[in-house]
Symmetry: C2
Subunit: 287 residues, 2 copies
């Protein structure tokens, strides 16, 4: 009987004696130029991608992360979204969800080519959108990529790992400023923003840095069973459009159109759109 | 280095190869007449109570469970709540939260006297309400206790363990019918209703059984990091009052009055009150 345990650790992790264990049928280990990669076949979670010791993607619960990093921002637009930038997102799940909104172009900038290649082979149901002709896949540093962009994107999604290794720079104010500049005048930025329970200080710092840059900043919560504590967050930074300002009737119409065209979503719905922005008191308590 | 791992198992558990591990400083084991009890001192979670192998209560996250099993129902009453029945709830945390609404009387019926005695000694910050003069503590079978009650309680809270061992009968339609009868004409019932992710079938069955008995049935969700998958639910069954029908202005007023009198809550607030009832699609998907 083989078990994999992720012992929670790393920059900003407030749980230092806790771990999640999964029964494993088989495993494959390799080192990419950027990180350590472990591919597991598990009993409960299907195939699981682990980077630098942290579970990134499981076949069983990936729909939650990928729907919820994408749809709240995308459904906030009252108009057709044309050009979307995804930074990170090597498994392709975020691009899969973005494509459901029929953008003209999705640019994805992932630093680690090997992650994409493994996901194309091992997670076809997650990565299948990467072959779409509207998707421009670039390998490089997302931080550098946005630096010279101006008023180009409707939406920028930062689908990155924890603030260690290659992702550190994606948690900093300078990067958020460059993203602001790279967005159109009604553009929206969204980033994964860690666990408000297990990495409370990091989460709050992301929100604080975004508030220096964007006039509208809205953190929201989702259940991700295989991430530390299961309580996860994303944060939207927006120039004009407020995800909480969308009229329920307009959202309902857009939502019904999308699921008629693309099939059912498994997590996101209009009630979840509004409800996810309700934050328990302890997250922003005075310290 | 000592670690405790809860390997998820038992009636209705859909995760069969997953566990949560906690670093342990010391532990104490005993057998009560009803269950196996393990008391842990842990690095991250403070003291932890484990019954029949399942984590019940940790000092670090107990506030979430106890606030959220209590306040959504209690804040649904437009009037003073007079008499509350708590079934189970041996650690006393639910009673502590109920008392913040100044009821005249709280009856608690717990089957396992030893759990209460250990919690009084080991978890004083959780069990401190049990000594309040308004609290009538009875040891016995909650199922039997409600059978001959009629129109007596404003609110019945079922704070029980999983549907194995002594708690099985608390998941059945007959019990819900007796609770309906034991409630006043505008009474509310609330029960913990397992993880919609990890015990989806059990959760849905609780909701279905309650729908046979109560005209208004409202499941809602909370983040509980130390319970299987971290995604947990409670379900309200109500005769007349709808937790989603409370006017925001009225709720805001009641909430401010309570926190001025009792101090801040750590999880519940009016946004969370409404937001918790937003349920992701997969929970009630067609099978």
């Amino acid at each position: 009987m083989l078990w994999f345990t992720e012992y929670y650790k790393g920059e900003g992790m407030e749980l230092q004696g806790t771990g999640l264990s999964m029964k494993v049928k088989s495993s494959k280990y390799l080192k990419t130029p950027y990180q350590e990669l472990l591919l597991l076949e598990t009993e409960d979670w299907g195939k699981v991608l682990v980077l630098d010791g942290a579970v990134q993607t499981t076949e069983r619960d990936e729909f939650i992360y990928h729907e919820m990093i994408s749809h709240p921002a995308l459904f906030t637009f009252p108009r057709q979204v044309e050009k979307v930038l995804v930074i990170g997102g090597g498994d392709g799940g975020t691009v899969r969800e973005v494509l459901k909104h029929q953008p003209k172009e999705v640019v994805m900038v992932e630093i680690d080519r090997e992650v994409v290649e493994i996901c194309k082979k091992e997670f076809p149901s997650i990565s299948n959108g990467l072959g779409d002709e509207r998707v421009k896949l670039t390998f490089g540093d997302g931080r550098e990529f946005v630096k010279d962009k101006e008023a180009e994107f409707d939406l920028i999604i930062v689908d990155c790992s924890d603030p260690i290794g290659p992702s550190v720079v994606l948690y900093q104010e300078d990067f958020y400023r460059d993203c602001f500049k790279a967005l159109k005048e009604d553009g929206i930025f969204v980033t994964q923003s860690e666990s408000p329970f297990a990495q409370n200080r990091v989460h709050r710092q992301v929100v604080r840095e975004l508030e220096k840059v964007f006039p509208i900043v809205r953190p929201y919560l989702v259940f991700i069973p295989t991430y530390p504590s299961g309580m996860w967050s994303f944060t939207i930074g927006s120039k004009k459009l407020d995800p909480l300002g969308v009229a329920p009737s307009a959202l309902g119409k857009l939502y019904r159109e999308l699921i008629e065209r693309e099939g059912a979503l498994k997590y996101y719905n209009p009630e979840v759109h509004y409800g996810a922005f309700a934050i328990p008191n302890f997250v922003y308590r005075e310290e």
